[in-house]
Every structure is written in structure tokens, then in C-alpha cells.
């Protein structure tokens, strides 16, 4: 639409947007404040906005006991994480194939995550964090690889079978998780698979598949057909032309879809709650903090919530463009 030009109108627009931003942020702001408060400050009747911040809640959430050389070990871990992150960010300036650097850094992060509990005695919360990473990563890998093949096929094949698959996927997308989860629970308890990462990953891949193929299909439909036809004239078969020609072109769309899969797996509560008993991921672990009657848990719940939200905020900052594209693709192109 055309823009409002009158100064009073501009002021009004910015006021509304600012108020809505405050409305969106208040819970984050308050929880972050609470997470840095001591027990006494957090429970004062009139809210305290200025106080002496403390890291104690975060330490209680993550660390069970510090090693003797506590701060030295802490700096060592931070330095390692920092070096890896810098390597990732500046990979393109290093005269080595960046793919190798990325793979190396990912291996490095993995090693770091493995090493931390060897150096410091961590709380259970750390193992929930690791569970979340494992489940999320495998869900993305499996879901996107089979989803890409199907999404591409659905974008290029006009037969009746494709239409039927798309329509039934839409129907599955709309059904409640509980309708699928209870049979998984039944099978899981018969096969003794409850509490395993395997069952969680399988269940997450399954419930996300309808959404994934619809979204990937919409992105593959944007890729011109001439591209793979040219590649196939040059002697490549369907699969190699798909992998070498189509996937690189559709890559931003694939990233968008992967991002949504990440959010779905990271956020999942119901599936994890039903299919695990102790091997939780973060959402279930955090919901346990509030379940207790003990009011001291309040600041811990705040610290745990902030800890689990930071990775997601980092992801949004890096991938906002992809996220918005994904949301728009889901709706506008339908």
C-alpha cells in the first residue's frame, strides 16, 4: 500500500509498532531479569528492576560441581568455542576448501560437547541438551533427504498419484499428534523402544513429513525445468542431474525447510513427553521445573528457559530471511 505521509500519521504508526514490540518482548524481558536475580530479589512483592545480577541460577541449572581449577577450565572451553566459531565465520578467507573447514568445525563442536562433561561435573540438564541436539540433527538429516527426493518428484510429475499423495499429506498435516502418538507408544512399549532416540527421530520424521514435502515441492516448482533437461541432454541421469544441478539452485529453499524442521524438532513437547521416560529433550525437561511446588524453582526455570532460547534466537538472527521466505511460501503459494 502507499505510505502515510502526514507527520502525525507517521508518529501514530511508529507508536503502534513500538507498543506491539513491547507486548511481544515483555515475557522475555521479565524472565531474563528473573533469571539473574537472587532468590530474595525474585520474590519481592513489588517488582525489582535494578539489582545486583548473579550467575548462580545458570550455574545451578548446568553445573553440578566445579573442578578445582574452575575458572581456568571455563576459559579453556570458551576459547575453544570462540576459535571454532571464528573459523566458521571467516572460512571463506582461508585458502582451503571451505567445505572441509565447516566439516572440521562441526566435528570440533561435537568433540567439545563430548569433552565438557569429562572436564566438569554437569547437571542432567546438559544431557537433555545433548539429547535435543542429537534428535534435532538426525531428524533434519533424514527428513530433508527423503523430503527433497519426494518434493522434487511431486513438483515434476503430474500424474494422479502425485495429487493423491499431496492431498493425503495435507490431511495428515491437519490431524492431531495424539492420534499417531498413542499407537507409537503402544508399539514402543511392546518393542521396548520407549526412551530411545531412535523412536523419537522416527516419530518426528514421520509427523513432519507432510509439511516438509509440501514446502519443498513449492520451492522445487520455482526451479525452471530447462535446467535439468539441459543436464540430461549432456548425459546425466535423473538422480545426478537432480543432485548436481537442481539441489544447488533450490538450496535457499532447502535451508528454509531445514530451519522449520529444526524448530519443529527442537520445540516438540507432546511426542517427547509420551515416548520418553528419562531421556527427555529440553522442552519436557524445562516443563519439569515448573511442575514442582518448590518456589525456589522459579528462578531456575527462568534460567533454564533463557538457556534453551538463546540458540533459537541466534538461529533467527542468522536466518531471518529464510524463515520469512518459508512462512510466506507455505501460505502465499499454498
Amino acid at each position: 500500500m502507499d505510505k502515510v505521509r502526514r507527520p502525525a500519521g507517521r508518529v501514530f504508526i511508529h507508536t503502534v509498532l513500538l507498543l506491539f514490540a513491547v507486548y511481544s518482548l515483555v515475557p522475555f524481558f521479565w524472565t531474563a531479569l528473573q533469571s539473574f536475580k537472587t532468590f530474595k530479589d525474585a520474590f519481592s512483592r513489588a517488582p525489582i528492576l535494578i539489582f545486583q545480577p548473579t550467575w548462580a541460577n545458570y550455574q545451578d541449572v548446568w553445573i553440578r560441581s566445579l573442578p578445582d581449577a574452575g575458572s581456568a577450565v571455563g576459559y579453556l572451553i570458551l576459547a575453544a568455542a570462540l576459535i571454532l566459531t571464528c573459523l566458521m565465520l571467516f572460512a571463506r578467507y582461508i585458502p582451503v576448501n571451505p567445505a572441509w573447514i565447516y566439516i572440521g568445525c562441526l566435528v570440533g563442536y561435537g568433540a567439545l560437547l563430548w569433552a565438557i562433561p569429562q572436564l566438569v561435573y554437569m547437571q542432567k540438564f546438559y544431557s537433555y541438551f545433548i539429547n535435543t541436539i542429537i534428535v534435532t540433527v538426525f531428524t533434519i538429516l533424514i527428513s530433508i533427504s527423503i523430503g527433497c527426493l519426494a518434493g522434487y518428484a511431486l513438483a515434476r510429475y503430474a500424474g494422479m498419484a502425485a495429487v493423491l499423495i499431496l492431498i493425503s499429506a495435507l490431511a495428515f498435516r491437519a490431524l492431531p499428534r495424539l492420534a499417531f502418538v498413542l499407537p507409537y507408544f503402544w508399539i514402543g512399549s511392546l518393542l521396548n523402544l520407549l526412551d530411545s532416540h531412535l523412536l523419537l527421530v522416527i516419530a518426528l520424521v514421520a509427523v513432519n513429513q507432510p509439511f516438509t514435502i509440501w514446502m519443498l515441492r513449492s520451492f522445487f516448482m520455482e526451479v525452471p525445468k530447462d535446467l535439468e533437461e539441459a543436464a540430461m541432454v549432456d548425459g546425466a541421469n535423473r538422480l545426478t542431474s537432480f543432485l548436481n544441478v537442481i539441489v544447488p539452485v533450490a538450496w535457499p529453499g532447502i535451508i528454509s525447510t531445514a530451519l522449520f524442521t529444526l524448530l519443529l524438532a527442537y520445540n516438540e513437547f507432546l511426542l517427547v513427553r509420551v515416548l520418553t521416560q528419562t531421556n527427555w529433550t529440553l522442552p519436557v525437561a524445562i516443563s519439569r521445573y515448573t511442575g514442582a511446588e518448590d518456589p525456589a524453582q522459579l528462578t531456575l526455570a527462568a534460567a533454564a528457559s533463557v538457556s534453551a532460547t538463546i540458540p533459537i534466537i541466534v538461529v533467527i538472527l542468522f536466518f531471518q530471511k529464510h524463515l520469512v521466505r518459508g512462512l510466506a511460501a507455505g501460505a502465499v503459494k499454498g
Partner: protein, 287 residues
Amino acid sequence: MKRNTFFAFASPSIVVMLALMVVPLMMALWLSTQYMTFRNITEPDFVGLRNFIEILEDPRFWRSFSFTALYTAIVVPSWVVIGFIIALFLDQVSGLVRGVYLSIFLLPFIIVPVIGTIMFKQLWEPSGLLTWVYQQLTGSRYRVNETSVKTLIIIFGIWYVTPFTIVVYFAGLQTLPAEMIEAASIDGASRLQKIRHIVIPYVSSLTVFILLFSIMDAYRVFDSIFVLSELNPQFKADTVMTYTFLTAMQVQRLGKANAMAILTVIGIMVVLVPFLRLMYKEQIADR
């Protein structure tokens, strides 16, 4: 693409959906006719339709159903109206400012819903910020009771899904042809008239899309309600989904819970089938 190539590419996904969605649905249908608890999980008893009859006679089921209906009836219109209005405002700014606002607005939708719920709840603890504001404004103490828990659930529901409708409408507004607006401006239409007669009709297909998915999402909402009502079970803020969960995992009546899930599936299908037919025709026409 040839038929065989299509199936070669799509088969992993088809197998996953058949084995992990169609088969479980069949199983749920079968389980719903069984009397099964955690104790006789390997040898359930066939009870026919008795689970369904039990549900329909269960007052707690109807209570949770009516709260689900109330939740949907309040939350869905709020998503659509607030989302549309904020998208119009967002469309008025550009560049970096727009990007920053978009990031901030998206935040409630992106974070883990359970964590969002906990953050929301922190505001309403006895020592919370909004409890204090409420007491300053009304002069009375904020009490936790059935109404206030339900209100909290509904406000949270509005807070965390509105970003989705904002972004969808915002993306829709970006595709609005400038000529349509220019023509209206030349005719001397006011801003409200333009919105009323051009923008709203232009985004109407988006509205249908949002309404459909919102109704189903609102109907099957689980996480936030579960977390908020698990703390205070005496406040009867169950929805159909949380009641199904409790029947399965706490009362341990797997058969009855599956029957409830089947009833929900049927309910959603009634809403969905006309839309699916529409999509089917569209896809056939597109071929």
C-alpha cells in the same frame, strides 16, 4: 517425469507416511475398540464401541470440549484481526526498521511453546511483573482460579500465534499491485475505503487459508494448556487434547484415549474435507 521415476524418487517418503501415519491411524482405530491399560498392554480385551459410549457420557469430556470450543472461538478471530492490522502497520515502514520489527514480532512464534508458556507464567507469579501491575490498576489482589487460568491460557494463545498471521498477511501485502491502489487514490478513496474495498478482498484467499489452519491448530493445541493446567489440575482448564493425554498416560486407559483421538480426527475431517476437495480440484486444474 515418468511414472516409474516418480515412484523411485518419492518412495522413501511414501513408505514413511504409509508405515508411520496410515498404519498408526489404523492401529488407533483398532485400539479404540479395546479395553487396554498399562497392565494388559499385550493382551487387550475387545469391548466394541463401549469406549465411545463412555466418552459421550463423560461430563469431563464435554467440559473439556466446551473449553476447546471457547478457546478456538476467541483465539482464531484475534489471530486474524490483530495479525492483519499489525501487518498493515508493518507495511508502512521499510528497510532496517522493518527487519528489526519483524524479528521482534516473530520471536513469540519461534521459541519453544513450552518455554513461552513458562515465561508468560513468570509474569503472573505472586512476585511477577503483571501481577503487580494488575494490583496497582485494580487495587485488588490477583487470584489464581478457574477463570484466571483460562484467561491466561487464552491470552497466551493469542500472544504466541499472532506472529504467524502477521507474517502471512505481510507477505501477501507485498504482492498487492500498486496500480490497484493508485487507481483508487485517483478516484479519491480514503485510506479506510482502500483497505475495505481493495486490500481485504485481495487477501481473502489468505484469510481462508489462515482460518482453516488456525481452527485446526487452535483445536488441537496442547503444549501451553498442558503446562499451565498441569500445575493447577483443580482448575478444570482441560481441552480435548490434554484430557486425551491424561486419560492415556495418567488414568492409563489407552483404549478410551484412542477412542477420543478418533473422535477428534472425525471432527477435524468434517471441517477439512470441503477444503481438501477444493485443493484437489485446484491441483487437477493445475496439471
